[in-house]
């Protein structure tokens, strides 16, 4: 897969990383989730598995979008390279709530991770959660409970070397105090990707800007520290997304 600005900003794959995507109403960060999902499934050696916890959309939604991007989620699911948890369906069946529900959900996730890693050839698992604000709904509004659940998901990165990708909305919380849930997630993430509108407002050719903060200490070939913060614009097209630095026009 060719490298675009987002891939460059994220740096080399590397297991055990926590990536947080923040977006807002004006600029949805869903396209970043789709890009990372495709990236995780694109490993030609098939040593990666994705565990996808979807609280926001059904499987068909992602299938349709990823198909246009050239990735067939049905085949991946059938090959057990994608484990899709449709939380909208599972919740109704279970009847569990609050801590009980999240504990059980975590149990499902760890079981899935253990089963996958016990299969031959599987080396790395990516856990994607879309999205955190809806996990809070299941937690009956308790952000502390959501943080507990997230903490347990983080322990998977230490114990099994999994990567964790979460999406959260910046603007669903009170603006008076920066909420603990968002801040805590930012402290713990290794990479924070923020999708925001342009300061100048809506535009036809540019749909927004991405700011990628990569906290990992990295050096380039000559021993110099690589820039940790990148900011660039993006345009969402039918089958792909263009990323470019401000001012450079893509024909």
């Amino acid at each position: 897969m060719s490298m675009n600005l987002l891939d460059e900003a994220l740096g080399g794959g590397g297991g055990g990383r926590v990536i947080l995507i923040e977006d807002c109403v004006e600029t949805s960060g869903a396209f970043v989730v789709h890009h990372l999902l495709k990236r995780s499934l694109s490993n030609p050696h098939s040593s990666d598995v994705v565990v996808f916890l979807s609280f926001a959309n059904p499987f068909s939604h992602y299938d349709r979008i990823l198909r246009k991007m050239g990735c067939n989620l049905v085949i991946q699911r059938d090959n057990k390279r994608l484990l899709f948890f449709d939380m909208l369906m599972l919740k109704r069946a279970d009847g569990k709530k609050g801590e009980e529900l999240l504990l059980a959900l975590y149990g499902e996730v760890q079981k899935a991770v253990e089963v996958c890693l016990s299969r031959e050839g599987i080396q790395h698992i990516t856990l994607i959660i879309d999205d955190i604000s809806l996990v809070e709904v299941d937690a009956n509004g308790s952000s502390n409970l959501v943080l507990d659940f997230l903490h347990y998901c983080y322990t998977l990165t230490a114990q099994f070397g999994c990567s964790l990708i979460t999406l959260n909305h910046e603007d669903v919380y009170s603006t008076v105090d920066r909420p603990a849930l968002l801040l805590q997630s930012e402290y713990l993430a290794d990479v924070v990707i923020k999708a925001e509108p342009l300061a100048t407002g809506l535009a036809a050719d540019v749909h927004g800007q991405l700011t990628v903060v990569n906290k990992g200490l990295r050096l380039d070939g000559s021993g110099n520290s690589i820039s940790r913060i990148r900011n660039f614009h993006f345009k969402i097209k039918e089958t792909s997304v263009d990323y470019f630095y401000p001012g450079s026009q893509l024909k």
């Binding site: 975590y106 230490a158 603990a180 713990l188 923020k194 800007q209 940790r228 913060i229």
Partner: protein, 369 residues
């Protein structure tokens, strides 16, 4: 100064005194306190291993980072915590803080728990029970310290995580009990102050004898993220910060010290504050391709410019020509002719009071061409 803090912790408290306690704080704008925590841990380890410290070991209460992280960190510093004789133990409050994994294993949902290592002394399955946590810390510490009078260091990463599960008063009580325990040589903990209310942070500061906070060198100006100046300032805050330490002395005097902190691949470095950086960081002039500031010579020349007519501020009152020559005027004219040194002079009388000085109005406006 950072070295001074480490030495103070190493030396512990006097007989009958509470153990010195260090709180390391930061905010999301400059989240570098975990590097400082690691640095202090590494320094104290070095003192203990070279027998320069009165403490025999370190009890590390790991809440927000895995004991495996610390094992790898200390290994990178050249300290083998697994095979060599025991001088540091981790109380693992990270892997299963609420006992979820234990419950799942019991119900058969998941297979195994983290096997752990000899570095991890025990697994805490309920971080809400601080009394039990205190007992565990003391038990591990006594094991490390050996005989009855041996002392140990307690490191907590992080108290912010603890505050999520319990009240401020319980955490304060835990810290106070640790400080007053005979065998605790010193104590240090990490706190992200913007995750808590001000009063919670203040209460924990009272529990400490030294407060170290990491602050940004410069704050980005309000405005566009895309501004390259803001980006570079933001980036700087992920790499460098101002390290401010406040120490309460026994006699009540408070001493404040500042250093610059820089995070590199090899670890964190401390240096005296350089005034140059302050000047640069306070400059709000945007980076553009033309010069917006005045040079020294230009400033001097500007100061020497004589302003025209009424703006000279030389004490003369503004005279307005009313079309009639008055006696006063004649006298003034004669007076001026006598005093004139022969040089040319412009005597300006404003036409009318209605006319504002420096009016932009075009005097030819009324012409009908």
């Amino acid at each position: 100064m950072a070295e001074w803090i480490c030495r103070t912790l190493r030396d512990g408290g006097l007989e009958g005194e509470h153990a010195p306690a260090l709180i390391i704080k930061d905010t999301i704008r400059c989240p570098l306190s975990s590097f400082v925590f690691d640095h202090v841990l590494s320094q104290l380890s070095s003192f203990i291993l070279s027998n320069k410290s009165q403490s025999k070991g370190i009890v590390l209460v790991a809440l927000s980072r895995s004991p495996l992280y610390y094992q790898q960190f200390l290994k990178s510093k050249g300290y083998d915590v697994v095979d060599s004789p025991c001088w540091i133990k981790a109380l693992d409050c990270y892997s299963d803080p609420l006992g979820w994994k234990s419950k799942l294993v019991e119900s058969g949902s998941i297979l195994n728990r983290d096997p752990g290592s000899s570095f991890t002394s025990s697994l805490c399955k309920n971080v809400r029970d601080l009394d039990n946590l205190f007992s565990s810390i003391i038990e591990i510490g006594k094991e490390l310290a050996g005989d009855g009078k041996g002392r140990f260091v307690v490191a907590i990463d992080s108290v912010s995580e603890m505050l999520r599960h319990t009240t401020v008063s319980s955490v304060a009580a835990l810290l106070s009990n640790l400080r007053s325990h005979d065998q605790v040589c010193c104590l240090f903990w990490l706190l992200h102050s913007d995750l808590h209310e001000t009063r919670a942070t203040a209460a924990l500061e009272y529990m400490s004898s030294m407060q170290a906070s990491v602050e940004p060198m410069a704050l980005p100006a309000n405005g566009q993220i895309g501004n390259s100046m803001n980006l570079s300032l933001m980036e700087q805050n992920y790499r460098r910060g101002k390290f401010c330490v406040r120490v309460k002395r026994r006699n009540g005097r408070v001493r404040m010290m500042f250093e610059e902190l820089c995070v590199e691949i090899s670890g964190v470095k401390f240096a005296p504050v350089s005034s140059e950086d302050n000047v640069i960081s306070q400059s709000l002039v945007p980076k553009v391709q033309f010069n917006l500031q005045l040079s020294e010579k230009e400033l001097n020349d500007r100061a020497k410019v004589v302003l025209p007519f009424e703006h000279q501020d030389n004490g003369k009152t503004t005279q307005i020509y009313d079309g009639r020559k008055s006696l006063n005027e004649d006298e003034t004219e004669i007076h001026e002719k006598v005093n004139s040194s022969g040089k040319g002079e412009i005597i300006y009388f404003r036409d009318s009071d209605d006319e504002m000085p420096d009016s932009d109005e075009d005097p030819d406006d009324d012409l009908d061409i």
